[in-house]
Symmetry: C2
DNA sequence: AGCCAATGTTGGCCTAACCAACGATAGCGC
DNA sequence: GCGCTATCGTTGGTTAGGCCAACATTGGCT
């Protein structure tokens, strides 16, 4: 039993920013592990989901919608295109742009990821009742939207 | 700032892990900015606060209490000792250990950081009522303790 | 035509979080 | 006392996420 020899100090334990960060660490670890089962990372899921929901779009538009930096979109689209999950085609109407489309394989992969991710959310939120989960989601949503 | 041409997809917007991560990003940005006003980072605050609350301790013990990796404790203690805020002295009773002590200057700095940090928490939680803040803190605490 | 904005892309930066390995030391069982 | 194991500080990584700057190409506006 080599458990820590005591709790973290009060000042740290109750600090909302620190609690948020700790929860994010946990959530990210669980989610990353889940996605890794399908060889994916968070950016991959975000892009697949966005293209699937809104249809083909340029990389810049995807970045704007997901909050992912343009340069990081490039790398993630590279990965996904290399796996045949997305397709990158030049836009004939605007030769600056690439049109990103999801392939049938991409939809299948997305369904897998949705399933894995749902399980991950459940593991993350395990100690909370459905009502608690809704409350948490609501509070966090208000926070992020306020600072948007 | 960016000019999003629409909201992120439903699947991403309501994903608790993603909301948590987004909130953590915001919180960390605000906190980092606040601490930077005193030339400090998060690890610095955590160590100062821990030594102040529990008294002198070895670096390994500090790491266990704060959740900071031993190797990262080394670097942070280096920083703080160089500024005269902590003192690193060999433990005469166990020559493997260093005893870390907070100096008067360290206490002063800690008080400054406490003040800056309180303002940061308030900015972070701005959209939430006192009751909401308590609820959020409670929910997050339950999450992190469950996964501890 | 001329200027400004947007796009894809490359390349880089910084930090947090983590891990492996090392020599030195301590502690324990025997 | 001896040997094994654990612990400590430290060095030196790695990974990924979130950024920013710059560039050439292209388009839109006037």
């Amino acid at each position: 039993m080599n458990t820590p020899e005591g709790p973290p100090p009060e000042r740290l334990r109750t600090l909302p920013s620190r609690l948020t960060n700790g929860a994010a660490l946990i959530a990210n670890r669980i989610v990353d592990q889940a996605l890794a089962q399908a060889g994916a990372r968070r950016y991959h899921y975000a892009l697949l989901a966005t293209v699937e929901e809104y249809g083909p779009a340029s990389q810049a538009a995807l970045g704007r919608r997901t909050g992912i930096d343009r340069s990081d979109v490039v790398a993630a689209v590279n990965d996904l295109a290399a796996q045949g999950l997305l397709e990158r085609a030049p836009d004939p109407d605007d030769r600056r742009r690439n049109i990103i489309t999801i392939t049938p394989a991409g939809r299948k992969r997305l369904a897998d990821l949705d399933r894995l991710l749902a399980a991950a959310q459940d593991a993350y939120l395990a100690p909370l009742s459905p009502a608690d989960r809704r409350t948490l989601t609501d509070l966090l949503t208000r926070l992020v939207e306020h600072h948007a």
